[in-house]
Symmetry: C2
Subunit: 239 residues, 2 copies
């Protein structure tokens, strides 16, 4: 159905982070595609935006970024963004769907940076190093990256349901799956990848660092352990 074209949510840019054109208030969805590793699918043909829409979009992101830098992602209000950009509130929502959508859009550039690192960057994070090395580096990179943009990532994760449907997540997932296979890991690679990503979850790491006063180095070591276990003795007993 979906008669109204719905919020047209952001970029035709080639982004792995953005969710597809229809944002939050979207029904079931089959999602049976994307099973193979590293299917990129450039977000489909996003319907071209009007010139003013593009302009506003850019200004909104700019203003939002400024406000976040100024008062923290926590205190960003949609109204303030609209006002700062000189547009109506409805425009902000039309563009980004909801608050989480805006946060995700804000993260987009950072996320692309990280992605570039493990997709095409220099080893051991990028291609060229043995899979296990890359796995280890991946964890460290994600840990440090998310810590560096902590409040933005936290704010983007308020929407519990979208956390794992966002392209950025699937990309990380595919990447891990690929490396795991390459490393000769056995067992259910899909689940193993999810499990590894769960360990890197910003909310978990944040908890460990802040509430349990763990050092990032310790958490990193924990990641190395996980990688070693996940790739070493391939799932002995499944039953």
């Amino acid at each position: 159905m979906v008669t109204d074209s719905g919020p047209d949510v952001f970029p035709e840019r080639y982004s792995f982070f953005m969710t597809e054109p229809l944002p939050s208030p979207r029904p079931a969805r089959d999602d049976s595609a994307g099973r193979a590793d590293l299917v990129l699918e450039p977000v489909g043909e996003a319907p071209r935006l009007r010139a003013d829409a593009v302009r506003n979009s850019a200004r909104l992101l700019e203003v939002a970024a400024d406000l976040v830098a100024l008062r923290g992602a926590e205190n960003l209000t949609m109204e303030a963004v609209a006002q700062g950009a000189g547009v109506g509130k409805g425009t902000v929502f039309r563009r980004f769907g909801d608050r989480a959508g805006l946060m995700i859009a804000l993260l987009d550039s950072h996320e692309q940076e990280l992605q570039a690192g493990f997709l095409t960057g220099p080893p051991p994070l990028g291609p060229g190093a043995p899979a296990v090395e890359r796995l280890r580096a991946f964890g460290s990179a994600v840990l440090r990256h998310e810590q560096a943009h902590r409040d933005l990532y936290l704010a983007a994760h308020i929407d519990i349901r979208r956390r794992r449907t966002v392209p950025a997540y699937s990309l990380r997932l595919s990447h891990l799956r690929l490396l795991l296979r390459e490393a000769g890991a056995g067992g259910d690679l899909d689940l193993a990848a999810h499990s590894l990503l769960a360990y890197l979850d910003i909310t978990l790491v944040d908890h460990l660092v802040l509430r349990e006063a763990m050092s990032l180095e310790r958490i990193e070591s924990g990641w190395y352990e996980l990688v070693a276990r996940g790739t070493g003795a391939a799932a002995p007993d499944d039953r």
Copy 2:
């Protein structure tokens, strides 16, 4: 500090699930205690509630449970609960702190049931079976339990920051730590326990089941793999 006694949030009952008397708007907190395994600490001496408060508390929970059963946890509004119980909205907030607090309170009885299962129930979930068996059973139990009360658990997890500070979480954590040690696992047991719990996260499981169409059995098998890896070859390479 804390001059205002603050919302007195619910029960002096011996609950592992409820958070301590001061709810959401509470500052730093050191939490340096509770490091040892299975320190129970009965939530301290909760200041006795007035009779009317106890009465209202009970009615509120009753009404809330009814409404959840009727319209789903998703659609539960604080106002409706207040109205249904014939009290003011302020009373609801005074009692439970916030929406998440109410959800958590609603989960309390279910959670205690689960806890009874792995603390004092029959093997293999309860004491008596070898640690590895208990670990396996623990995962299955949690998976099934949370699936059974899915929407309530999901609703209770909207508060990202509290998910891992709630007693129920620490209890599960201690339990896993204990079993891991008993099973002769090596490495950082604390992190291993957190990692295992992350796999059982209701939001992850929900995603796997709903969006990736995985069967609960498959997810269970994944847990067995994790347990095998976590207890089997104790962390070979830490570096």
